[in-house]
Symmetry: C2
Subunit: 339 residues, 2 copies
DNA sequence: TTGTAGGCGTTATCAT
DNA sequence: ATGATAACGCCTACAA
């Protein structure tokens, strides 16, 4: 059991005081070149490491970032986390992860816990059921920088990184049109969330830009699940209108639709073309690979972290910074042009 | 910008000293019932929260757990993390996540960083390329409890939770035999890792237990990837021996094999039955759903955390505790009995 | 039962 | 350029 070495150990060894050691270690200019070097050398020799708790107590900086996601085990979020860590770790920050399970109540609890743990900053993607924002204004009032990613609320003095979901909807819809679809349905998840609402806007705009008649009856709401996909597939098939293309705001719903249609012998992409959203790992592994929209979660995590670091490192005014990630269409068999 | 309230604020308000407040807050018995109640009440009123850094500095306990995984965005590991958090958070512990990217070098760096961050305990699943254990004995020497999960090394004074991989291999193999396979191949990833080695042992033992001839030529080594699966499929098909069942230590390799075989018109499960390992999310979404072995990562995370907590809460002797998670066979179409 | 005082390891503000 | 000292917030002997 080795004991932790402190600046006093270094000081004693060099017959100087802890203050001098501290100065040497912190690039303070009030120190001679040679003592500084000497300190750094012995620090290395003794394997000195700054005590994080003492530093935090003294400075008020914990070098900890609270990262709140609905679920950590979702492909999207776990990759955001990867990106954030990649950016934060080299700067000496570490990430504490919290899961809301898409519950507003849990999210409020978490914010309290996060504040209690005295993080230097917060990154959050709000839960599906979050309705108010008072728990987050509390964060702002404590002067803790807050960056939303993907799912955001409009709050003063916060920053955000989101996918350009409108553009995502546009890419998907235009692709279907370009590949010959003339009657396109849109299957959308919870339109209260900014992400889904925007994907729908992108869809609608693109339909209109192409001088196609926008028909609200062709917009369906469905959960992001296989079961919801099965259901909505049945609904779509039971309609008089003959649909030849579907843009889905979720890969899971899209797969559900594909499954049900194939079960019924409807050929994809010949009879109907389908595009999902998120580029979930499974979409490329299917026998009928699914066209989808890449959200670059890893990059999103990096950008969110960068924005947070800006705020953290400069004690300037809390300027808001709202970044967008550009979506990429990933074309696969499910929407292939057929003649 | 609200200021943080300390025990001094509470003390001042009640005309007592900080020491008394501290005692009240920490269930110390040297305090009268009524002052205690009074303190707790005003603490609540003032929204007091203990300063984590001060507590850590004073007590030497950071209430932080270092959790090291090869990749956070793998289904298996992200679910382990979920389970661990579920267990640790209610006890006031938080998790700091570190990724080794399956690199031994990075893992060594991480351990240094983890120690620097003064965690109270460590949970780790070692990288594929970890060859020595000196970086981890350093942890033991600092008296920091260490629990391995899934991928372990044999080190004194450490605990572990692993899947019973031998049993996993056994379940899969016995299932193939029960469903009529008589010539079974085993495709195994890096046999240096305990997990893969044990799955192979389970395979071998089961073959022998069933009085089938164990043929080492039917054991293949292949990465956990689609490409490796394609390759090994070709190898298997080019053999004189007619194989009618394959146990694969990875779902990805298994899928690769399936893809290649289907491409060549070989019918699964009629001609050949295939079983994978891990119950990756995609395995249930395929058109040909894959039989596989569930590893219950969430439960593994919980158990690992529980074992760590035992060590943390009791300052007893460092007793080793090695737990096993029982695997579950998930039967699907790829290995269905055909007549 | 409560108060006093010291120290955990750092850094910043004095003074030298 | 360096040393002495105080303070960050908390806990705990020890004293009362």
């Amino acid at each position: 059991m080795e004991k932790k070495v402190t600046i006093y150990d270094i000081a004693k060894k060099l017959n100087i005081t802890a203050a001098t050691v501290s100065r040497a270690l912190n690039d303070n200019k009030l120190i001679s070149a040679k003592t500084k070097e000497l300190v750094l050398k012995t620090a290395r020799e003794l394997n000195y490491e700054r005590n994080a708790s003492a530093f935090a107590l003294r400075s008020g900086k914990t070098k900890l970032i609270g990262l709140v996601v609905p679920y950590i085990n979702r492909h999207f979020f776990s990759n955001v986390i990867m990106g954030a860590e990649e950016e934060l770790n080299p700067k000496g920050y570490h990430v504490m992860i919290f899961q809301s399970n898409d519950s507003f109540e849990k999210e409020k609890d978490i914010i309290n816990r996060v504040l209690k743990n005295q993080v230097d900053g917060i990154m959050i993607s709000i839960s599906k059921t979050t309705t108010s924002s008072t728990h987050l204004t509390k964060v702002i009032n404590q002067n803790i920088p807050l960056v939303f990613f993907d799912r955001k609320l409009e709050i003063k003095n916060t920053s955000s990184v989101v996918l350009d979901d409108i553009e995502g909807g546009r890419l998907a819809t235009q692709h279907l049109i370009d590949n010959g679809c003339s009657t396109i349905a849109c299957v959308i998840s919870n339109p209260k969330l900014n992400i889904y609402r925007d994907r729908l806007i992108g869809f609608t705009q693109t339909i209109e830009e192409n001088n196609m008649k926008y028909n609200p009856d062709l917009v369906f709401e469905a959960d992001s699940s296989l079961a919801a996909g099965h259901e909505v597939a049945d609904t779509i098939l039971s309609m008089d209108t003959k649909i030849d293309g579907i843009f889905c705001s979720s890969d899971y719903t899209a797969l559900g639709i594909c499954q049900r249609m194939q079960e019924l012998g409807i050929r994809i992409p010949e009879k109907i073309k389908i595009v999902g959203f998120s580029n979930e790992p499974f979409t490329s592994l299917l026998e009928l690979p699914l066209t989808t929209v890449e959200q670059s979660p890893y990059e999103m995590g990096k950008v969110a972290a960068k924005i947070l670091l800006e705020r953290l490192e400069s004690d300037d005014i809390l300027l808001d910074h709202n970044a967008k990630i550009y979506p990429k269409l990933v074309t696969r068999l499910s929407s292939k042009k057929t003649t």
